[in-house]
């Protein structure tokens, strides 16, 4: 796929995802410019994950996806898997929620990190292997050369999610989509992984689409926020403004819930 000169990175317009029993994602629209950091927040079942998956054509086969998803001005909906796979992991990469299950259990993590590099950049096995070790170092794995040779079950949850981030950022994507990347981790590890994500995004000037149910997480890492409920966007705006003065009662409720949790923790 050729990269157009259109400056807008991603334009989602009237996205509808339907499994046949009513829309699960209902007319969702948003726009991202290069380097934008956008959060989608909402309770489970609000359609936030499905929205993200639909952007890269990964919604389940049983779903009908309509509307428009434009990448640099080019329509992505309806394109074949073959065409989309050139974009996936290269220009748009994803980090998944559960690092316990999102890594192949029988493949050394170094090879998993090297895979997108071999796929998209055509690196040789040894060059990609060396790059993988370097990425292990960059995401803060102890003893990177050895870590690259480990199997996922030999790493802790936090370390595995660092591997997930290394895989996603291997090809220096223009957009990183993270789906609850820290939910499966405990609080201290959560903060470390979030900080790492923040640094890497900054360093590479990548755009970020950050999906979470936790308001406490979005304020540090995103500039713009979309609040989703039952498949629709109920409110959107700059993160700081939305958190300080929510307009929609649902947003207020989410923020109040996050404050209560924070108080409990303190």
């Amino acid at each position: 796929m050729t990269i157009d000169t259109e400056p807008t990175l991603l334009a989602v317009t009237d996205l509808v995802v339907d499994f046949g029993a009513g829309a699960v994602v209902d007319r969702v629209s948003f726009v991202m410019q290069p380097g934008d950091r956008v959060g989608i927040i909402g309770e489970s079942g609000s359609g936030k994950t499905l929205t993200a998956l639909s952007v890269v054509g990964l919604a389940p086969d049983s779903a009908s996806v309509t509307g428009s998803v434009r990448w640099h001005g080019q329509e992505l909906l309806g394109r074949s898997d073959r065409e989309l796979s050139r974009l996936r992991g290269e220009a748009i990469a994803m980090v998944f929620q559960n690092p316990m299950t999102s890594l192949n259990p029988v493949m050394r993590v170094g090879r998993q990190i090297a895979e997108p590099l071999r796929l998209h950049h055509g690196l040789s096995r040894s060059a990609a292997g060396a790059a993988a070790v370097e990425l292990c170092r960059r995401v803060g794995l102890p003893d990177p050369a050895h870590a690259a040779r480990a199997y996922p079950h030999q790493l802790s949850g936090g370390q595995r999610q660092r591997v997930g981030i290394a895989i996603a950022l291997a090809c220096r994507p223009a957009l990183l989509i993270t789906d609850e990347p820290t939910t499966a981790l405990d609080v201290t590890v959560q903060a470390e992984v979030l900080a790492l994500l923040h640094d890497l995004i900054e360093e590479r000037d990548a755009a970020l689409l950050f999906i979470t149910h936790d308001v406490a997480l979005v304020s540090g890492i995103t500039d713009h926020l979309l609040v989703m409920r039952k498949g629709t966007i109920v409110e959107e705006g700059p993160t700081a403004q939305l958190v300080a003065a929510p307009q929609h009662p649902y947003t207020a409720q989410l923020i109040a819930a996050a404050r209560a949790t924070a108080l409990e923790d303190a």
Binding site: D81, R88, G89, D143
Partner: protein
């Protein structure tokens, strides 16, 4: 090369793996040795030497025609090994192809193939072998084809279920999200994850093939020129009440070959699945993992 050696060492570490290697190794050795050397010509008939007991000149004694039994067992290993390997290879080809295609193709095609598999499974392997041998000609290829195909369709059903299970895992979605094509995902992520089960199934196919070949030879359905343990058993059992020791050797050979393939399958399964051997990559990583796990509690 290094990886292969490490792999072998892991198989060797378990008792089933070790016994499997020994038994199958003995059979391979017997087959290879028989190509260059046997104490006597396995087909040489010496009427004056019939029913000789075990001795230093005839290790396993001789049969009713005076043929050396040790030589016959050695040569018979070739037949058994050939059928076992060829049957497993055919079963792997049929099982993996049908199973994977039926699991990853769009729903209707996949289900059609699944129904086809169910119908094919209904054909009993040995009967299929008998029919094929009768229709074509009794060659080791025909026998292997029947055993391989019959076991292959059963394997296909196992593979289909396994692939369907693996497909639901996040790492398959993650691989797709990283730009891996369907067939690349099958090759790099799905196959390695179903390999342990396929290997065990294939070792069962090999074990079954040993028994099936012995049965078909016993029934006289393999070419008469092919030396085989089953054919030996058939010839020797008629005089078993008078010369009971003779029948022990080909019988033992069949048992050890069957057992060997089964045990080897067990050992390979453990070796191929890194989650089953709890080796830790480095002390530092293990230490960190422990610390983080404690922190998570």
């Amino acid at each position: 090369m290094n990886a292969t050696r490490a792999f072998g060492r892991i198989v060797w570490r378990t008792w089933p793996g070790r016994l499997g290697i020994v038994f199958v190794g003995m059979m391979v050795l017997a087959a290879l040795v028989s190509l260059v050397w046997t104490p006597y010509d396995a087909t040489r008939v010496v009427p004056s030497d019939k029913w000789l007991p075990l001795s230093t000149t005839h290790w396993f004694g001789t049969d009713g025609a005076g043929k050396d039994l040790f030589s016959q067992v050695l040569v018979g290993a070739r037949t058994t090994l050939f059928v076992a390997l060829l049957s497993s290879a055919i079963a792997a080809l049929v099982g993996l192809t049908l199973g994977i295609v039926s699991a990853v193709t769009p729903r209707h095609t996949g289900e059609a193939i699944a129904h086809l598999i169910d119908i094919l499974i209904a054909l009993p392997t040995l009967i299929l072998a008998l029919v094929l041998v009768a229709a074509l000609e009794g060659s080791l290829w025909t026998v292997s084809l029947a055993i391989g195909f019959g076991s292959g369709v059963v394997l296909a059903r196992v593979v289909r279920a396994e692939v369907a299970r693996v497909l639901t895992h996040d790492y398959v979605l993650a691989a797709t999200a990283a730009g891996s094509s369907t067939w690349r995902t099958v090759w790099r992520h799905i196959l390695p994850n179903i390999a342990p089960i396929v290997i065990v199934q294939l070792s069962l196919v090999a074990a079954l093939a040993v028994l099936a070949e012995a049965s078909l030879s016993y029934l006289g359905l393999t070419p008469i020129s092919t030396p085989s343990w089953g054919r030996m058993l058939e010839g020797l059992q008629q005089s078993a009440s008078v010369h009971p020791w003779a029948i022990v050797f080909p019988g033992l050979a069949v048992v050890l070959a069957t057992l060997g393939f089964n045990l080897l399958g067990d050992g390979l399964r453990e070796a191929i699945d890194p989650r089953l051997h709890t080796r830790v990559a480095t002390p530092s990583l293990a230490f960190n993992a422990t610390i983080e796990r404690q922190a998570e509690r």
